[in-house]
Symmetry: C2
Subunit: 332 residues, 2 copies
């Protein structure tokens, strides 16, 4: 089942069911007003949404209309929890290597994960609007799992059953703010502005055999200014799968419905697969040549993030965002 | 104006207006169903809530009833953003001193702030339910500001006007998990379980002259197992006021309605004022004697956090929570 949130002028948007081929959609107004409302009562709501999905795929949706990605908000335009992990720790090892530092031993033992701001996500075609490109604006192609209620202390096996939806994320990071924040010890805050999401969230069964062991075994493709710069395989080198990430999160807390758990940027050891964020490319350059030659995003730059199924068709629809300058209201 | 959220079996509860003396309440069902809904449209909703508040204070609420704190959820039982700052950096300096380390120079220049989990806050009488007291369970008495929409790049002066409500928080921290997480560089996640909130959120004018310069100039009282252990003054030693904290948060993002911005634990240089979290006491002991003698909370321990007005009456109602053991579902 594929779901999207249409911009109807409200903060949470209007839940819609989207056909598998992303060509048509149908408002879910008789079933649940918003995706959060659906997740709040998933056991009851999901079968109704799925019935509508089946009709839509058969061309029998009574009020179906052309699906327009430009009218989509993030599937959850705002959420009660958004954590991002480093499920591909080779990225951190690469970063350490680029700086001539030893990678922390603990990285592979347990997932590194942090809370992020969930009050204002960007839709798939919304600009990344920021005041300064000097902040070192980087895109970041990742996957995320969306849960229903997960009780405190759930094991990874138990957590697996609470993955209700998958989503694609553009985890934007302001790299030139990140180092300072990390040095100060509180995790990233200003360095993590609003994340962008692909139009469709889908149930894991939509991936077919590619959803296995709590991972999506498909490449995640990133285009930067129209050029394919990366297609790392999301199932390779993912050291912590989604159930493990959720188990890590719920160790000391109940995790409630609508929590979004991100994998962090997808990356492969095989450098020929390219990169999902500019920092990875720069760290490779630093390690090889002593100089990071590739600049971060410039105003006007675009990024496209997409995952294709084994049939070559877009699964989630594409994130296509442009970096745009907004007026700096105050001097910093 | 004072507002609370009553437990009606739903996730977001039922918004109620509470009389200034905390004796009676009135459901706001004809005005806004939830506090989030009120904050989403504050300019339109707040005057209506205030009119009901005036009636209630005059004993003229048509369907007023006895206010029962035991039936309260957190004012926002779940929120779209919860950040906690270190607005009293002397606490961090104390922690560094206790370990014989130099305090980072950057601490006083800019606020240290991190995102927290906002999907499941605890009500004022809900147990702090955790699996292991060995995690080093610490209470933490702090204040928080709740905002409406704050545009990216707002100055502190601009941010000031977006503080719509104040709240009292018990920022529970698992100290024995915190050091590991800090060492790994991602900020605190497992070390910050669900925070607890006092029953009432209030508009800043309820503090009268004690709300000045974006700070609450009143002591915050903490009882541990019935004994008053701290009454640090929240207006003294607060290096970053709430408008500055919000300006820090919105530097690179729009901050949306219902964001909760915490001060962190209130602390004074004057050690005679006692402590708002056990870690502060232990750090004093470490610095003085080389040994932290005071243990963290034990199962069955209770904590009470309250702020009294200049008339000696409770402003927000009290947080009164007990640490309770829950079954550890998995061995860790």
């Amino acid at each position: 089942m594929k779901l999207a949130t249409l911009n109807d002028g409200t903060r949470d948007g209007q839940l819609a069911v989207v056909a598998r081929d992303l060509k048509t959609a149908h408002v879910a107004d008789g079933i649940a007003p918003t995706l959060q409302a659906a997740l709040d009562d998933w056991g009851f709501i999901a079968p109704q949404l799925d019935a509508l999905y089946q009709l839509l795929n058969q061309g029998r949706g009574q009020r179906s209309f052309e699906f327009d990605v430009a009218n989509c908000m993030a599937p959850l335009p705002r959420a009660f929890q958004w954590v991002s992990a480093a499920a591909y720790p080779l990225r951190l090892e690469l970063a350490c290597k680029a700086r001539g530092a030893a990678p922390p031993e603990s990285l592979r033992g347990e997932a590194l994960m942090q809370q992020g701001g969930a009050d204002a996500f960007l839709g798939p075609r919304q600009d990344i609007a920021l005041a300064y490109e000097q902040w070192g604006v980087d895109f970041g192609a990742g996957l995320a799992a969306i849960t229903d209620d997960v009780p405190m202390g759930a094991t990874a096996d138990q957590a697996h059953q609470h993955i209700k939806l998958l989503a694609l994320v553009n985890e934007v990071v302001l790299r030139n703010l990140a180092d300072d924040e990390l040095a100060r010890g509180g995790g990233l805050l200003q360095a993590r502005p609003a994340a962008g999401f692909a139009p469709v969230a889908l149930t894991p069964d939509e991936l077919g055999d590619a959803w296995k062991g709590g991972k999506a075994h498909l490449p995640l493709r990133t285009h930067w200014n129209g050029k394919l710069v990366g297609q790392p395989h999301a199932g390779v080198d993912m050291v912590f799968n989604f159930p493990q990430l959720i188990a890590h999160l719920c160790r000391t807390r109940n995790v409630r419905a609508g929590s979004i758990v991100g994998s962090g940027v997808v990356a492969n050891k095989d450098a020929r697969r390219g990169y999902g964020c500019i920092a990875d490319k720069r760290n490779l350059e630093l390690a090889a040549d002593g100089v990071a030659a590739t600049p971060f995003m410039l105003f006007g730059d675009s990024v496209k993030i997409e995952m294709l199924g084994e049939d070559g068709k877009s699964l989630f629809g594409a994130i296509e965002q442009t970096l745009k300058q907004i007026e700096a209201r105050r001097a910093r």
